[in-house]
Symmetry: D3
Subunit: 333 residues, 6 copies
């Protein structure tokens, strides 16, 4: 039976100069929408799952257009909330080779940041769901968003729904008076699957030392948070803005698993590749054993680098072919 | 000698779907910048005057790009201030015939709204200037902006610089705790030239009755604010979103002057047409007698309806030809 | 309670040269999707109704993209069927003034034309619906499509759902061996609301004479098909490709009603204006008395002329304002 | 049998800002090619005639691309000559309503201006031709061009080929040391058909007085140049840059003929409308009586106002429909 | 003397989303035309040969536009036939790195597929020709197309014109009731030059074993079809969708020749690269010895990977420089 | 204190087909402006310096638009001169891999080429400047330009302003009757910093032998022109049109310095990379020791390869990061 995933988080209007133009050259912006959690939901939908996203948009034509973007990309949007006046935004200038891509955020005071727990009925939202996914960005946005997220996780736990969190250590995002160390651990302790980094484990949970490797740190995390069953990391080697290498790592409490490195030699759009990995992992863990699930996630992540926009809209067949080792990208007729 | 005008106010990033697309159809936005006062300065610059604009932008690549737009269109930008994180924005969906154009503003919390009087040295800014122009939008944005505006007017008065204000009654813009009735009169009392509407005079100054005509109301305004030397109104007849008619009216304390009506049968972009009128008036009053000045202003206003973007970038020759009655728009080789 | 409309018919890929380019000038095509019945459903959805469309697309990425277009524009697409290989298409070259727009169809052998009655479970589709709408194009496409349409109408009758048909006389479309005179009357006899033309009544039903006016012909139609409760016509006066006039006419068995003529002086896209009228009529008849319903339909129709694409994506508020007589199209902030 | 027309003249690269952008706003130029005589040839080709154009382009990729434009639009280009380095250019900024379109030429030193009579073998070029057409622009460009033109006319005379000239009085174009009064009459005296204006007859030939009307002046021209059989004028009333009116007038030595006025209310591109008139006249005179020929020419001219680019690429059917009075521009399916 | 090549086959409208957009993201399609055999003719024309293409298009504006594309790219189109209603199409989604490009064909029922032998007079078409080229796609389209192709080959044989065929084994294309094994050998037996693959020789002709190399298989082909003088293969190594390697191989009955491998590290458009190879081979065999001809073909093929669209529009000089070993792509001023 | 650089030279309109289209495919041109010396000034301005450029444009809307481009990119344009009618142009077709980019110049007879020494008051221009930069292109354009350049250098010498020249050996540019050997040495003898190549030193100054390396040749140049303090060379290895390698070399009279090679694996736009190097060198020599200055220049040069257009609009921070060895191009948020 088709599995269903629910995600929760801010969706931003993404504005980018065409091609490789810099901000100072642009006379137009390409318009798409994106946000870590919705990106995951859309990826899952393209892989064949049912997917719904919970978010909050301004109650105007721009908020409606954002919802339409989610609908177009197969999401169920019945739980989108409307209120207040501003949609979160980010501006993306795309780099190449030695020139970094640059992102400017404008999310302060957005409709999503003003969300309150009372606005979402999680039992209703999570009915029929198999999986709930959140990221560490949401609790960093505002106290309301953090509390909503905690409610969602707790409700999912009660309803027996698997919970995954994709959390990275970005202390500069936390501006509303709480630190990530105060908030994140409470959210993680009720998760089944955690995607994070070595640094994340050290900084957010105070576990391990500078020299400890991921395998050790992942074990430590599970020791301290025994509900967590799998800890996963995506290693990225940044050769240049145009050429990355990707590898997945997973500790499932028993085995340490690594994928082969995938070599993305001509990057089209690297935004959302982490979300593609997370979506691949959700799909993978629901349909495969751990090693294959990790291969699937890495393949999905690698493919996202070649798709413009935030979301990984490749087909299940594309991911499976790459996961099985066909890196040739040979033309399909 | 070339005259110099100084303007002060917010400049917004303007984002519009291409052509006649609605917000829900857009996959890109055309990007220009605009704001009532900067629009006036740029118009004046294209007419051959010197012009500088004072504003405040975020200290990032988007703030720089906005400044570059002003520079490209001939403004002096040495008095632009940088700080905080958000540039004011408006989204414009262009209508036609019976379908209205729609504007969505996002200016709350913008860098400009956080301006403080201490950030501008008006004596320095106004050195060598012949004219200072402000609009009723600026004091509606924030207390800081209102106080800056008052400082500017008073400094201009001290330095013997002509002051014009373009003020309309938009009570729904006033959200920071003061009403327009509390703030606007103090600003107007030191102005030489006031562009407003019959309704504006009634609502902002409490002068006249519902049935009073502009000619009477303008007289009343000058009675109460004797520094004001001329009161001007632009009458717009909106036949459809694609067809407007424009007429200028002026009371100079002695004579009531009206222009012929100009018929704009195929509108390209009506935003900024009021600013084009104000700029035409400033240029006109500096170079012509009142009747001609008003003809010039109306011609400039009419021409703006045919120029995409906020700013009236037609040439002095274009305005003069239309002002002299050549409405044919015949091809120039 | 929100009303729900179901529509059934082919959705075509629409390919048009940009702006006013002719086919021989195009180096790209603008891509949207459209079809008389889906256009009606989408219009209804933008007006605030629930709407689902039943159609058939090829089982490939192009068929999926067409579905995504419907989803984006708020339709429920759970009853879309996939099969065979070709999506129906039309190419549109946009005219102006004396130059006609030109349409080239490619719908022969399309996935929709190969639809069979067994592919749709109408009881399931029409569950919870308040209205079913079809057009005369569908039975002209293929025998399968005609039989599906008849099934739908009969099921709707059984379930007590109002049925409307928008039928015009286009004999050159009927290529599969049946004539419109053989097929259309059977479909119409179970309809509640019929949108047609004087010519249509004469040619498809053999009623009336060449000189008979619509009012008389509409009465005749109801005489012969007593289930029909209202007969409606949209009169279009084509002054040029850029300027049309629109008027609605309705006979409800008791009264003959006409709207004022609406004057669309600057047409942006006239395709789908009849569908906008039909959608306006459905919304109107569900929410207003007949005269207002007809005013609403005419206003919706007029507004569509200013929206690019096949579908009328204006807001309820836009239609209501025009219906109440505000033809000014004045800017909304 | 299909008739064949030969034309001779400069073809320029035309660069225009998109839509209604002014030069100072453009970040790209739309690229087409055009020139009075080639425009005539292409129009004739779209009407179904054979057509070849003689010109000279630089011997580089830009010259080749210009030739490819002519080939694409059905011209025979076997007599195009290559040499020197610069292609003539014009920049076009499109106006609207009261704002004039603006043209900037760059044709000095172009490959065409350096043409020499020895470069063209007119007997070879004109073999099988029925008509030769030139305009008054060519002899204004350079002495070499003027001499080539005279050779062409004389060869056509010898070979019994009808010759038409479209000549206007543009004294500011004559910069190489000769005046139009010295050159034009020699060219006209061997023409069969002359398209010109009242002013043109007065200024170029010194015939008639300021108050003389076209009918009288045309007669005078034929008196003095008895080889000329028909004198034609296109009257344009410029209501605004967006709205023109067109009427044809013809004196054939016996009768004075006028067409009804055509009202072009929404101009898309007025460049090349005179050439469309000339092409319509050539086609018309080859296929109809004089009155119909003039109607045909006027209809072709009116239609060109709705086609982007320099050339009138409408179909024979379009012109015939308008010529027969169908001004409705009603959609063709 | 300039050599002339004739080609025969379907030309399709090619519709592709801009840049790297996927089908589900496109709101426009880039429009070009292409087809294996016409691609060869156009390549030859850009290299300086005369070239004509025989095909069949619908008798409407789209068929005319397709012809205009061929004319623009220097082909003679006097033998294009018009009839029926649909132009063959293909949709191309461009991949990158691990993401494959995807092609969706719509050619069933196209005007070309309905071609009949009686529609082409091959003696007339082949008059003055030096070379006739066909591909294995044409006989797979329909029985009519296959018979036309055979007629062409036989007529060419009679007239002493060299014949080349580019045939690959694509059994899934054969849908009209014949297999490739039934049809292809009859066509090949009268060819002088065959471009194919090892697999092709095994599957289409039943020659050789799975482990046999190209050199051996080519010999076998010539043994069985003694009219064939040269058998050529292009080896492609697909490192990723963005990076291919190309090598040419040739058996001329006496010698086995191989080129150095060319490394195309940043692919722009790989469609039509095989056709560029075939065109290079035709030009090469007409102007060089076999080894140089093969180098020329490989260079032409490599260059095509960097040109958007189906056709290889690089210059003779470009190919010669690369053929002589200059792989630097250094800027030409 | 912020340093100020003055540059002098022609600025051309640059017209390029979009993306990788060839000239024969273009239906539009992307429009920017560029010229070696202005490119240097703009780069310096983006790095934080004050910068003014001296040039001459036609006195029309195109000349104004070119000035506006310079203003937008932060240059002071008060010394731009207007006169005559043509702006210099170049057309750029962008290559990839083995396909070279192609440039076609049209600068003969341009407004700049007609400049005369009397048109510039160098003492006024150079007031407050720290550096004057010229290139070897300027004296090749016309005698007037060469004399202006010499005046500028001599005035700079008198005013104690550092002078740099970027001179390459392009004998085919010299068409006005003087050779580069006659003109260049007089200009170089008063320079402080010379950027050139080994070949340049041999051909322009007749120094050294074919086999002499740069280090030796640079020494020789300083021996003969003792005012020259530093001789610099940028080595470019052209692996393909898409992949270059860059290395800087400098002889300062005492030490021979080389940078590490930078590997630009995915070139976006290579035009202006030499100018970016020169600008980096100017900034570097004004703010760092020689080794760091050369590292800075090489980093600036490498980054320019990733920026569309002629000018290097990257930030100081971008250059410093690369100069310090961060080649990763990792995303900045």
């Amino acid at each position: 039976m088709t599995k269903k995933v629910i995600t929760f988080g801010e969706v931003m209007m993404r504005l980018s100069p065409p091609g490789y133009e810099k901000f100072s050259q642009a006379s137009s912006f390409e318009l798409v929408y994106g946000g870590g959690e919705a990106n995951v939901a859309i990826s899952c939908a393209y892989l064949g799952m049912k997917a719904a996203h919970v978010t909050r948009f301004p109650n105007n034509a721009l908020g409606k257009a954002a919802t339409q973007f989610l609908r177009k990309h197969w999401l169920s949007t019945e739980h989108v909330i409307y209120g207040d006046d501003m949609i979160g935004k980010y501006f993306l200038e795309k780099g190449a080779v030695h020139r970094p891509s640059q992102v400017i955020y404008e999310r302060e005071g957005s409709s999503f940041s003003l969300i309150e727990p009372s606005m979402v009925n999680w039992e209703d939202v999570l009915k029929d769901a198999d999986w709930f996914h959140w990221t560490g960005i949401t609790p960093a946005i505002s106290e309301g968003a953090a509390r909503c997220c905690l409610d969602a996780i707790k409700t999912a736990n009660k309803m027996g729904i698997t919970v995954s969190g994709d959390i990275n250590s970005r202390s500069n995002m936390w501006k509303y008076g709480k630190t990530m160390q105060e908030v994140i651990p409470n959210l993680v302790e009720n998760c089944d699957v955690v995607i994070t980094s070595s640094n994340g484990i050290r900084e957010m949970f105070g576990l391990g030392e500078a020299e400890d490797k991921f395998q050790f740190l992942a074990k430590r995390l599970i020791d301290v948070y025994p509900n967590v069953k799998k800890v996963i990391k995506k290693t990225r080697r940044t050769i240049s803005a145009s050429h990355h290498q990707i590898q997945g790592k997973l500790w499932n409490g028993e085995k340490y698993i690594k994928t082969d490195m995938l070599n993305i030699t001509h990057i089209i759009d690297r935004v959302g590749t982490g979300d593609a990995f997370a979506a691949g992992l959700i799909y993978g863990l629901l349909h495969y054993e751990d090693k294959q699930a990790l291969d699937f996630a890495s393949a999905a992540c690698a493919l996202k680098h070649t798709v413009p926009g935030d979301v990984n809209i490749v087909s299940l067949e594309n991911v499976q072919n790459l996961m099985e080792g066909d890196t040739s990208g040979a033309l399909r007729r």
